[in-house]
C-alpha cells in the first residue's frame, strides 16, 4: 500500500477498497496495536497449545499415532515461531523483542485460547483437540486469510494447510475410537462432552467488544464471533452425530427458516473469561509452569549460545 500522506482517513479508505498493508508500510498506531494484540495472542496460543497434546505423546497407542502427534506439536511450535517473528517485526518500533513477547505470557500480559487451559485427561482428548479445536481454528484462520495485513494473511496460508492435517489426525483418532470397543466409545463421548462448551466460548462473546469491532473496521478480521461460531456448529453437529456420538446441549437446535440460525446453551462466560484473563483454568498454572521452565529455567542455555558464538568469533579473529 503506497500512502503519500500517511493519514488515517486515507489508510481506512485504502483498506475499504481492498488494498493490503505490507511489511514496512506506514500504519496508524492503533492498527499496529491491534495487529500486535491479535498476532501475539495467536502465536502464544500456538505455543501453549503444544502442552495438552504433549501430555499424550508418551502414551500414544500406535507408532504411527506417536509420530503424527509429535509432528503435530512440532507444527504448532513452528506456527508460534513464525507468528512471533511477525509480532517481533511489528513490535520493533516499540522496542520489544522475542524475549519480551515470550515472557508476557508468564506475566499474564498476553492471553491464550481458553481451550489450552483445559485438562485433557484421556487419549480421546488428544483426538478431540485435533477434531474440534483445530477444526475451530481452521474456521477462524480461514477468515483471517482475507486480513488487511498481508504478511499475516500470507503466513496463514501455510498455517491453515498444516492445520488441516492436524484436523485429519484428530478425525482419524476419533473415527478409530468411535468404531472401537464400548470403552473407547465412552472415552470419546466423555471427551466431546468436555470440549463442546469450551468450543462455544472459543469464538468469543455474542456481542463483540470495541477492539474486535475495530479489527473488523480495519479488516484485520472479516467475520463476527457469532458468524464463526455458527459456521462451526453447522459443520460439527452433523459430524458428531455421524460418529454415533451425542451432544449434551439440550438447547441445541437449528431454526428451520433462513438464515437457519443455530441456538445453543451459552457457555459459562464468567468462568471461561476468568480462566483466560487470570489463568485460573484447570491446567493454566501447570502449563505455564512448563513454559516458565523453558523460558526462565533455561535462559542460561540461550545466554550460553550467544556467549559461545561471541567467544568463537573472538578466537577466529585472533588466529
Amino acid at each position: 500500500m503506497d500512502l503519500m500522506h500517511h493519514s488515517k482517513e486515507e489508510f481506512i479508505e485504502q483498506i475499504a477498497a481492498g488494498n493490503k498493508v505490507d511489511t514496512g508500510d506506514w500504519m496508524p498506531d492503533d492498527y499496529r496495536q491491534l495487529l500486535i494484540k491479535q498476532i501475539h495472542m495467536h502465536a502464544i496460543s500456538e505455543i501453549m497449545g503444544a502442552y495438552p497434546e504433549k501430555e499424550w505423546v508418551k502414551y500414544a497407542p500406535t507408532i504411527q499415532r506417536k509420530l503424527a502427534l509429535n509432528a503435530k506439536i512440532q507444527d504448532e511450535i513452528g506456527h508460534g515461531h513464525m507468528l512471533l517473528r511477525l509480532a517481533e517485526d511489528l513490535s520493533a518500533p516499540l522496542g520489544r523483542g522475542r524475549e519480551d513477547l515470550l515472557h508476557d505470557v508468564l506475566d499474564g500480559r498476553v492471553k491464550f485460547h481458553n481451550v489450552f487451559h483445559m485438562s485433557a485427561p484421556s487419549w480421546a482428548d488428544a483426538g478431540v483437540i485435533g477434531f474440534l479445536v483445530d477444526g475451530g481454528a481452521i474456521i477462524t484462520q480461514a477468515m483471517l486469510l482475507a486480513s488487511s495485513y498481508a504478511p499475516y494473511a500470507r503466513m496463514l496460508k501455510r498455517i491453515v494447510a498444516e492445520e488441516s492435517f492436524h484436523m485429519q489426525f484428530g478425525e482419524s483418532v476419533v473415527l478409530a475410537l468411535a468404531s472401537g470397543t464400548e470403552v473407547q466409545r465412552e472415552m470419546l463421548q466423555q471427551a466431546i462432552n468436555r470440549w463442546w462448551p469450551a468450543m462455544m466460548f472459543f469464538f468469543g462473546p455474542r456481542e463483540m467488544g470495541p477492539q474486535s469491532q475495530r479489527m473488523l473496521e480495519y479488516r484485520i478480521r472479516t467475520m463476527t464471533n457469532e458468524e464463526l461460531r455458527q459456521k462451526f456448529i453447522a459443520r460439527y453437529v452433523p459430524r458428531i452425530h455421524a460418529l454415533g456420538m451425542t451432544l449434551s446441549d439440550h438447547e441445541l437446535y437449528q431454526d428451520p427458516d433462513p438464515p437457519h440460525f443455530w441456538h445453543y446453551t451459552d457457555p459459562d462466560w464468567d468462568w471461561f473469561n476468568d480462566m483466560v484473563h487470570h489463568n485460573t483454568g484447570p491446567m493454566s498454572q501447570a502449563r505455564l509452569a512448563l513454559r516458565r521452565g523453558a523460558q526462565e529455567g533455561l535462559a542460561w542455555a540461550r545466554h550460553a549460545a550467544l556467549q559461545a558464538h561471541a567467544t568463537i568469533d573472538v578466537r577466529a579473529a585472533t588466529l
Partner: protein
C-alpha cells in the same frame, strides 16, 4: 530376501533389536522435551530428531519382521519387558537440559560408529535402511555438536551444567557397547567392527579428539564393558517406559486406535 544360515539369521535379529530399541527409546525420551527446550528453534530441531529416531526404529523393527519377527507395533506395545535390549544410558529418566545434550551427543557419536560397523553385515535390506538413516543422522550429529559447543564455550554456568551432564552419563556409557543377547553375535556375523571392544575404542578416540577441541577435561577411563548394560532386569527405568507405552493401548489391546 537373502538366505542366511539359521545361526546368522538369529544373530542379525538380536543385533537389530538392540539398535532399534536404542533408537525408539531415544525418540521416546526426546519427546519428553517437546515445548520445553530453551528456544523455539531448539524445539523444532528436537522434535525433528525425536521423530527421526522413532522412524529409524520402525524401519529396523520392519527389518526384523522381514526376518520373521513380529510387527513393529507388536515390538513396541506387546513385547515382554525382558525381551527389550536398549542400553541403560538411553533409558535414564529425564534429568536436566545439559544432561539431555550430553546424552544425545554420546549416543550420536556411538550410533555413527555402530552404523559404520553395521554396513559390513551382508544383508541388502539393512544396507538400504542404513543409507536412508544416514541422511538424517548426519544432521543430528551436526546439531548436537553445535549444542555441545554452546555449552563448552557458553560461560561458567553452562560449563558447570555441561560438566555435570558428562559426569552423570559417563558411568552409563559402557552400556552402549554390549549387544544385549549373546555377546558373540558379532562373531557369528563375521563382523569384527561390531566387537564391543572395537566399538569402545573407536568411541573413545572420537570423544577424546572432540573434548580436546572444546577444552574439556577428560573424565577418566570408561568403565569396563557392561555385559548387563542392556539387561532389562538390571534397568529400573525400562519397566516404567514400557508401562507408559502401553498405558492407552492396553485399555483395548486388540482394537484399532
Amino acid at each position: 530376501m537373502i538366505l542366511l544360515t539359521p545361526e546368522k539369521h538369529s544373530a542379525l535379529k538380536s543385533i537389530l533389536i538392540s539398535v532399534a530399541d536404542d533408537e525408539w527409546i531415544m525418540g521416546h525420551r526426546g519427546s519428553e522435551w517437546l515445548a520445553e527446550a530453551p528456544d523455539l528453534e531448539d524445539d523444532l530441531a528436537l522434535s525433528s530428531t525425536s521423530q527421526d529416531e522413532m522412524g529409524h526404529a520402525r524401519l529396523l523393527y520392519r527389518l526384523i519382521e522381514e526376518l520373521g519377527g513380529p510387527s513393529p507395533d507388536h515390538q513396541v506395545y506387546a513385547r515382554p519387558v525382558d525381551d527389550w535390549y536398549p542400553a541403560r544410558l538411553v533409558t535414564l529418566a529425564r534429568q536436566d537440559w545439559a544432561e539431555w545434550v550430553t546424552r544425545r551427543y554420546f549416543y550420536e557419536v556411538f550410533d555413527a560408529i555402530r552404523r559404520h560397523a553395521l554396513i559390513s553385515i551382508p544383508f541388502p535390506s539393512l544396507a538400504y535402511a542404513l543409507q536412508s538413516i544416514e541422511r538424517e543422522e548426519a544432521y543430528h550429529i551436526r546439531y548436537i555438536e553445535a549444542q555441545m559447543t554452546n555449552l563448552a564455550y557458553g560461560g561458567q554456568v553452562a560449563h558447570d551444567y555441561l560438566a555435570h551432564g558428562i559426569a552423570v552419563d559417563w558411568a552409563f556409557i559402557p552400556s552402549l557397547f554390549s549387544w544385549g543377547t549373546a555377546e558373540e553375535t558379532w562373531q557369528i556375523l563375521q563382523c569384527p567392527a561390531l566387537d564391543p571392544r572395537s566399538l569402545q575404542q573407536a568411541f573413545e578416540a572420537s570423544i577424546q579428539k572432540q573434548f580436546a577441541t572444546w577444552d574439556l577435561a577428560w573424565p577418566g577411563p570408561l568403565g569396563s564393558i557392561d555385559g548387563n548394560g542392556r539387561s532389562a532386569a538390571k534397568n529400573p527405568d525400562l519397566a516404567q517406559i514400557r508401562a507408559e507405552l502401553r498405558a492407552v493401548r492396553q485399555i483395548a489391546p486388540d482394537s484399532h486406535w
